[in-house]
């Protein structure tokens, strides 16, 4: 799969496929806010070459260039040469992590926690209680302002499809899972939540360069979800990660697994006519602005499905005018690169304000928490659909 490895250990052909035309620059959220070539996809690839060919050591500035990437992969959508930037950066981050071990201790600790669902829920509920007692500065910590203390139960109704529940999303946004289940069941399909057997997709580990941890998690998820049933995912980041297991593990089993993974909107779009439509009054009110999570738009390419599914259930759907620019959340990015994440979010906030929307929908927990922290009313698309269905 890889030809002539350089020092960096990334695929040489992938690295060479960039001709430095620069068409990616305006689509890169970090280049947009800093204007620095070190914060652009073209620049990061040029610096990968520098390290790969041994021209310069892995300096602090070079690592900062890689670490400043949100991994939104908008550059891939923009690239006429199909440079697989995401793969290149993931491999680069893994190289940096294995040679220099730069990831902060608290990040690694946190990521390890994601794989232990009971602990995660316990810590989350404790945080929620602490929040009620005003013991934690939620905003500064970058966590939602009102975490749930208790979660409603998510029970299986059958085995037609899996609903991937994940880690943080299950602990913090269980209601989105319930709404997803409700909407999927409205098509006459039974749902089995994946639960603690497949605790975490490993996306954040991959992004942090913790490749071994990510591959272990992938293997664990694959073995937990055997069979042929479709695996529906309502978190953009998790969906993108599960769909990439084939490449990550490079095995037939993993590739077959990835084939079964579907973004929930993608799945619903083909079955929308099986749902009894609400009449006009029952549609969810107000102007609803669509914020495309990058891993929906740029990685999975399922953003049009979101529109198709949502459109019949809301009164007014509006587009943001920023061409799907990243909101700055980027999983753990908003914790690790706080200032950059906020600067990028400012652009998104301005776009949302220009759209004069009452509510923003976003199909990714990271984005919705990041945007909610800026004071926006953010919902998951399936929540609005479920509400419309309930008021039929």
């Amino acid at each position: 799969m890889t030809d002539s490895l350089g020092l960096l250990g990334v695929d040489q052909a992938e690295l060479d496929s960039c001709v430095a035309c620069g068409l990616c620059l305006p689509h890169c959220p970090t280049y947009r806010v800093t204007g620095a070539d070190t914060h652009s996809p073209r620049g990061r690839i040029a610096l990968m070459r520098v390290v790969d060919e041994g021209i310069a050591p892995l300096s602090d500035e070079i690592v900062e260039s890689f670490d400043s990437c949100i991994q939104c992969r908008a550059c891939e959508t923009a690239c006429p040469g199909d440079v697989p930037f995401g793969h290149l950066l993931e491999a680069t981050k893994e190289f940096v992590e294995t040679t220099q071990r730069r990831a902060p201790w608290w990040l690694k600790l946190g990521l390890r926690g994601l794989t232990r669902p009971r602990l995660l829920r316990f810590v989350s509920s404790s945080l929620a209680v602490a929040q009620r007692l005003r013991l934690v500065p939620s905003r500064r910590m970058g966590i939602p302002e009102r975490l749930p203390v208790r979660r409603r139960a998510l029970r299986p109704t059958g085995d037609d499809v899996w609903l991937f529940t994940g880690c943080v999303m299950d602990a913090w946004q269980r209601d989105v899972h319930l709404a997803t289940k409700e909407v999927v069941e409205a098509t006459g399909t039974t749902v089995r939540p994946t639960g603690d057997a497949a605790p975490c997709c490993g996306a954040l580990h991959t992004h942090a360069g913790l490749g071994d941890d990510a591959r272990k998690l992938a293997a664990r998820v694959i073995s937990a979800l055997d069979g042929d049933n479709a695996i529906l995912v309502n978190s953009a980041g998790c969906g993108a990660a599960l769909k990439d297991y084939g490449r990550l593990l490079d095995s037939d089993e993993a590739r077959a697994f990835s084939e079964r993974v579907l973004d929930v909107h993608e799945w619903l779009a083909d079955r929308i006519d099986q749902i009894e439509m609400p009449d006009a009054q029952a549609r969810t009110g107000g102007r609803v602005a669509i914020q495309d999570p990058c891993h929906v738009r740029h990685v999975q390419g399922t953003h049009m499905a979101v529109r198709r599914v949502l459109e019949p259930f809301v009164s007014e759907l509006v587009e943001l005018d920023d061409e799907g620019m990243c909101c700055g959340a980027g999983g753990a990015f908003s914790l690790v690169q706080r200032q950059l994440a906020l600067d990028v979010r400012d652009r998104k906030t301005a776009a949302i304000d220009r759209a004069e929307a009452d509510v923003v929908v976003s199909a990714n927990p990271g984005c919705s928490m990041h945007l909610a922290a800026a004071g926006h009313a953010v919902r998951h698309p399936v929540e609005l659909i479920a509400e419309a269905l309930r008021s039929r």
Binding site: S17, V19, C21, A36, T38, G43, E61, S65, G81, V83
Partner: protein, 492 residues
């Protein structure tokens, strides 16, 4: 002409650089100056393959005052200064020679004022071309110059290169759309060239500045003309079995008295690469396709569309008219992504740019194919056929032994063919370092001396972007030393 991936030399930095950096930091603040290897390495190249020097400290000014401060520090340290926009240029214009202080305009990216009544906008140089058009779209206006890189290139860069684009066939190049420019001269003084009144008095210094490739001053504010959107636009895709038929169609369309908004041509190999990316329904089997756009008022556009279609069919072409805005946008996305899409053909490209009389298109294209075949290269052609602006794109793999030399040789032969039929060196990419040494093919010693006079009128000490455009014999004396004493590398 020198081709090579990127500069890769190592070495130690000098003390003088450290003092200069300290002064820059003192003037701009630490957050606006980068002197580390990573930042300097990335500022050492643009989108071309030309790279001979290494960037010195990279500055990120926010304002005219910042740029003036950089210029004064540069003067006190006797350092050259190189302005840089998005780095999407193709002639090495923003690739440093020597080790100049680099002034990146990317943070000067605000649209300062839009005057819808007079159809003028004052913008900072780092505003992205397409962003400006998007911002004024609700007013029914746009910025007419639309280089293929318009989604990334900056207005400041457009001014430096007098950029063109497909639609300059009808609307004119950047110079026709710039009313005034605030420029920081090498002395640090800021002056406004041109003006918003109808006939500013004095020499047309504005016109002289546009296209001066960063050698006359640094634009810090630009007053651009905004063009009303046409009421109606039709885009036709015409496909042909031979390049000659396509070229003959171009000639016939122009001769018919039509001035289409754009007339673009792509050959078969280019169509294939582009279609792989956009899937716009470009016909892969055609030897050549034309993208012709007509605009204006509805009934006139209908008439023009029929006329173009008739002429195309009379030359054996298949004609498709884009049905809606979406189809039109997709066709143009394909055209404007052509250069990047070439990565699908080979890992490196050299994008040429010459202009020939329209009537010589077929003859020159034949010669181009012959030249590249002889040098064992692959040529992809995608260009502004309406004004004879050829862009042969030589796709190659720089890791193959001798590939760079073959590309350089073929490039020079294409230039010679273009000049021999009455063409010019560059239609829109500029001279930069790429064609500097070929200037003597097109201009006499007297011509070049006059150009040098114009440059010295603006920059007596040749501090700005030294070593570009003019061959060394006609440039400032210090330029000869630029390549003689290669500066130390960025990874000190």
């Amino acid at each position: 002409m020198r081709l090579g991936r990127r500069n890769r030399q190592g070495g130690a930095r000098h003390d003088r650089t450290d003092r200069c950096v300290a002064d820059l930091v003192g003037a701009l603040g630490p957050e606006r100056v980068r002197a580390d290897g990573a930042a300097r390495h990335l500022a050492s190249a643009d989108a071309s393959m030309f790279s001979d020097g290494t960037a010195g400290p990279v500055c990120f000014p926010d304002s005219t005052e910042h740029v003036q401060a950089v210029m004064r520090v540069a003067a006190s340290h006797d350092r050259a200064v190189l302005p840089r926009g998005a780095g999407s240029g193709l002639s090495g214009g923003a690739a440093p020679l020597g080790d100049p202080i680099v002034v990146s305009t990317t943070r000067m990216n605000r649209v300062l004022e839009v005057d819808a009544e007079d159809r003028v906008a004052w913008v900072q140089p780092g505003v992205v071309n397409l962003d400006l058009s998007r911002q004024v779209a609700p007013l029914g206006l746009h910025f007419a110059p639309d280089p293929s890189s318009q989604q990334v290139c900056t207005i400041g860069g457009n001014v430096a290169n007098n950029s063109g684009g497909p639609h300059c066939l009808a609307y004119g190049v950047t110079s026709a759309h710039v009313l005034a420019v605030e420029v920081v001269l090498s002395s640090g003084e800021a002056v406004v060239l041109g003006g918003l009144d109808a006939e500013p008095s004095g020499y047309d210094l504005r016109g002289a500045f546009v296209g001066s490739e960063g050698m006359f001053g640094i634009a810090t504010k630009i007053a651009v003309r905004l063009t009303p959107d046409p009421e109606s636009i039709k885009t036709l895709l015409l496909s042909f079995d031979s390049v000659a038929d396509a070229a003959a169609t171009v000639g016939a369309v122009i001769a018919s008295g039509l001035v289409p908004a754009a007339v673009e041509m792509m050959d078969q190999r280019c169509v294939a690469a582009v279609e792989d990316f956009v899937q716009a329904g470009y016909p892969r089997e055609a030897a050549a396709v034309l993208l012709i756009e007509v605009d204006g008022l509805s009934r006139g556009v209908e008439a023009d569309t029929r006329k173009v279609a008739e002429i195309g069919r009379a030359h054996g072409g298949n004609v498709r008219v884009a049905a809606d805005e979406e189809e039109r946008a997709l066709l143009w996305k394909g055209r404007k992504s052509a250069f990047g899409a070439i990565a699908r053909v080979a890992p490196d490209y050299y994008l040429h740019d010459t202009v020939v009389p329209r009537s010589k298109l077929v003859e020159v294209l034949k010669a181009v194919y012959e030249i590249v075949d002889r040098h064992d290269l692959v040529a992809v052609n995608v260009f502004h056929a309406g004004d004879g602006n050829l862009h042969p794109l030589l796709a190659y793999d720089s890791r193959q032994p001798g590939a760079n030399e073959r590309v350089a040789a073929a490039g020079q032969e294409i230039l010679e063919v273009s000049l021999a039929v009455g063409g010019v060196l560059s239609g829109e990419h500029g001279i930069g370092v790429e064609k500097r040494d070929f200037m003597e093919f097109q201009f006499t010693a007297a011509d070049l001396e006059q150009q040098a006079l114009l440059r010295r009128s603006f920059d007596p000490h040749c501090r700005l972007n030294p070593g570009k455009v003019l061959p060394s014999a006609h440039s400032c004396a210090d330029v000869a030393s630029l390549s003689a004493s290669r500066p130390d590398g960025v990874w000190g």
